[in-house]
């Protein structure tokens, strides 16, 4: 009984102890609360050691994959000398392996002097948190209750550790937060100091300066701005775009748009606006620039900006732009280009108009090659000459030259350039040149010269008609005096008694008028003086057409039907176009005159050009008029021979002299039917005639014979 009782009492005692131990273990988390992991482990291991009289207890904790595991080993003093903790752990780890599910419930290892029973207790369901190893040398370890206690302890440890870990994590975060706050505070303080410095600077800057909050509201505006605009700081700060009331009404919309774009995008802005100057109520152009300040996270802290008065620059720029535009416009209007040339480097700068004149793309690099490609081949040497001149001369000089451009379409432009050469600081010469496209002027001049010569020709050709009248007037006036005086003189002398004094007076006057008359005749002779004809290449057909154009109205008035028969293959002749036209006009007039009484047939007037023998051209004017008396045929060409009541009789005589001056001849024939034909035939080139004659005299004497006729 006693034994039983003792057994029972022992059993009860054991159980009581077990329950005590259990209670103790269950109370552990309360003990742990607020403690960190090392405290938890410390209490746990100490408790287990004491409670289960263990010889060795170790724990390995894998709190996270990154951190190295915590390993703690406790060994009873009785266990004797032991290797260092980490070696024991390593040995334990080694005997256990990594895979917790495969861990046996009990391991028997040789350790120290003898065998030890080791119980591995996984922490966490899969042992993911780590492992506690409880070991004792005594046999039978662990007993049932001991195993129970170990399991409870392990699960309690698990809870405690997880809580502790959570706590430590929280603390970590808190610490990190604190650290960051501290760092940021330091940064902000620094930044603020910096800002304060900047603000201080901003106040003193000679420009309007300001800062904006991230939402665009001004928080700082320096004195310069407040004084300029007359706005108060409170007003400016009252709303983000209060400042805009100082902007010129026309600029407000764009200013507001740029401002808000810059603020909302966090990019800052740069814009030009006109701001009202409070002092005098004028608007002046300002440049507003804002840059953004960001914090470490990239958030907008502030915008810092300046407003600079650029009115003067802007005006100056505008003036410059305008004067440049004027210059460009002037150059365009005047077709004047300009360039700058440094012969040493062949560096050439062109104005836009010059590109336009040269028909090159504006801005393309100008090289001498490029210029050469445009300058007329005959004028290219000018460029080389200029370089030579440049080398030969010292100091500044001006010169002027004319050259031509040969454009890709083969058209020619006439250029007139005036250059001024100077030396720069380095002694290198530099040409400033103005180049004018004078093509239009040239063409106008040519046209004017042509028009003038045509005018002259018209005048000269027409004057034969008017000449008749004017010659008559010039001659008849003194002639009238002569005849009247002479008559008077005769009558005075024939009177009874003769009036000698009066006669002498009238005779004197007669002589005077005679002299006047000879002056007139001298003038007329000068008019018809045998000037050498100017020689030019004449297309006789063209000359005929011009005369027709001149006289067609008159011919139509006289109901003349003009029939031109102009040869296609007519060679050019050398001669005086205007004089030849006078002849043609005379022949047409005479033909027309000869038909003025013709009513029974068409007043047909044929004008014909054709090649003539011996490299000559022939022109014939054939009418259907009254013809002429064959007896008088020779006299037709005499000066002052006329059968017309208002005729002068010089047309044919002048015409013949003109044709003879062209080494040709002029003759008249009567038609088979009614009317006459007047023809002239002239050699193609009177200039080459002398030489050509020499040959032709031998080869074809008949031809030259007729030319001389």
């Amino acid at each position: 009984m006693d034994v039983q009782y003792e057994q029972d009492a022992g059993e009860i005692k054991r159980l009581q102890r077990c329950i005590n131990d259990l209670v103790c273990l269950l109370a552990l988390p309360a003990l742990w609360s607020g403690g960190d992991i090392s405290q938890v482990l410390d209490t746990l291991l100490n408790t287990l050691m004491r409670m289960l009289r263990l010889d060795l207890v170790s724990v390995r904790l894998n709190l996270s994959v990154v951190e190295t595991p915590i390993e703690i080993v406790r060994v009873a003093q009785s266990f004797g000398p032991m290797p260092p903790a980490h070696e024991i752990c390593e040995a334990l780890n080694h005997s256990l392996g990594d895979n917790s599910p495969k861990w046996p419930p009990l391991l028997r290892n040789l350790m120290g002097d003898g065998e030890v029973s080791m119980v591995p207790l996984p922490l966490g369901l899969q042992g993911e948190l780590g492992v506690i190893i409880a070991a004792a040398q005594r046999a039978g370890f662990p007993q049932q209750t001991e195993a129970l206690l170990l399991n409870v302890a392990a699960s309690q440890a698990c809870i405690g550790l997880q809580e502790a870990r959570l706590r430590s994590q929280q603390k970590c975060i808190a610490d990190e937060l604190d650290r960051r706050v501290a760092r940021r505070t330091a940064e902000l303080t620094a930044a603020n100091a910096e800002l304060q410095l900047q603000v201080g600077l901003l106040q003193r800057l000679p420009v309007s300066a300001w800062t904006l909050k991230p939402d665009g509201t001004p928080d700082f505006v320096n004195r310069v701005w407040l004084e300029y605009s007359g706005q108060t700081l409170d007003f400016v700060r009252s709303r983000p775009d209060a400042w805009i009331s100082a902007v010129h009404p026309e600029d407000r919309e764009t200013a507001s748009r740029s401002f808000w774009e810059g603020v909302r995008s966090g990019q800052g802005f740069a814009m030009e606006t006109r701001f009202l100057r409070a002092r005098d109520g004028t608007y002046r152009w300002h440049l507003n620039q804002a840059v953004v300040l960001r914090d470490a996270e990239g958030r907008v802290l502030k915008f810092v900006g300046t407003t600079t008065d650029i009115d003067d620059q802007k005006r100056a720029k505008e003036k410059l732009r305008r004067s440049e535009a004027f210059l460009a416009e002037g150059q365009r209007l005047g077709q004047i280009g300009s360039y700058c040339w440094r012969p040493a480097t062949d560096e050439i700068t062109w104005s836009a108009e010059l590109y336009r004149i040269y028909e090159l793309e504006i801005g393309m690099p100008v090289t001498l090659e490029l210029i050469r490609s445009r300058v007329h081949p005959d004028d290219v040497t000018l460029i080389e000459k200029m370089k030579l001149v440049d080398q030969a001369r010292e100091g500044s000089h001006d010169f002027e030259w004319r050259y031509r451009l040969l454009m890709p379409d083969q058209s020619i432009k006439y250029m007139h350039a005036v250059a001024h050469s100077t030396r720069d600081q380095n002694g290198q010469s530099e040409y400033m040149a103005s180049v004018q496209d004078v093509t239009a002027r040239r063409l106008a001049e040519e046209a004017r010269d042509k028009a003038q010569s045509e005018l002259a020709s018209v005048a000269r050709v027409m004057s034969l008609g008017a000449l008749t009248a004017s010659i008559a007037h010039e001659v008849n006036q003194p002639l009238s005096g002569i005849i009247t005086n002479a008559s008077t003189c005769l009558r005075m002398l024939g009177a009874d008694p003769p009036q000698v004094e009066g006669a002498r007076e009238t005779a004197r006057r007669t002589i005077r008028d005679g002299n006047r008359m000879s002056e007139v005749i001298a003038r007329l002779r000068a008019l018809f003086s045998k000037k050498e004809p100017t020689t030019e290449s004449v297309n006789l057909n063209d000359a005929v057409l011009e005369v027709i154009a001149l006289s067609i109205l008159e011919l139509q008035k006289n109901r003349v039907v003009l029939c031109p028969e102009l040869a296609d293959d007519l060679p050019l002749i050398t001669g005086d176009r205007v004089q030849l036209q006078q002849v043609i006009l005379n022949l047409l007039r005479n033909g027309s005159d000869a038909m003025c009484t013709v009513e029974d047939r068409p007043r047909q007037l044929v004008i014909r050009t054709e090649r003539d023998n011996g490299d000559r051209v022939r022109l014939t004017v054939q009418d259907a008029g009254i013809g002429f008396d064959p007896q008088a045929a020779d006299r037709l060409f005499d000066a002052f021979y006329t059968t017309k009541c208002d005729g002068m009789g010089i047309g044919l005589s002048v015409s013949r002299s003109i044709i003879e001056r062209h080494h040709g001849r002029l003759w008249a024939t009567l038609n088979e039917g009614p009317g006459a034909a007047f023809s002239f035939s002239i050699p193609r080139t009177p200039a080459g005639l002398a030489h050509a004659d020499g040959i032709r005299n031998i080869q074809a004497p008949a031809v030259t014979g007729s030319a001389a006729a």
């Binding site: 008849n476 005096g481 005086n485 006057r509």
Partner: protein, 133 residues
């Protein structure tokens, strides 16, 4: 110039023929020839001078140049017709033009002489101008 300076007898005895011409040689020569014919003659260098002379009423025949600066010969003729001072007029001109002659005669001229003209042609013309119609 006034006709009052003429010798009184001449003014009564002789018929006054006035010459209006801008050409000096005509003004010099024609009056002498007219005087040789027995007429009294006065010369005026312009139509205006003649109109202002006070000789219009005495003038029995007018020798009138066609082309003159200022008032032309035909202008003067028309002006005289307008003033109802019709004087037989002979035009003298240095410009040859049959059409002009034709027109002047149509407008009432007695004759149109082309310079130069002979003394007999002149005398014939003046005589026919003085012949009562």
């Amino acid at each position: 110039m006034s006709c009052g300076v003429l010798p009184r007898r001449s003014a009564i005895d002789r018929i006054l023929v006035s010459v209006v011409d801008d050409d000096e040689s005509v003004r010099e020569s024609l009056p002498d020839l007219l005087q040789q014919f027995g007429f009294a003659a006065r010369a005026f260098s312009s139509a205006e001078e003649f109109l202002a002379s006070g000789c219009i009423d005495q003038t029995r025949c007018l020798l009138l140049d066609v082309a003159m600066p200022g008032m032309t010969g035909p202008d003067l003729q028309q002006e005289l017709i307008r003033r109802r001072k019709t004087i037989p007029t002979i035009f003298i001109t240095a410009d040859v033009g049959m059409t002009v002659r034709q027109r002047l005669i149509e407008q009432g001229a007695v004759e149109c002489l082309f310079k130069p003209f002979s003394d007999t042609v002149l005398l014939d013309a003046v005589n026919s101008a003085l012949r009562p119609k």
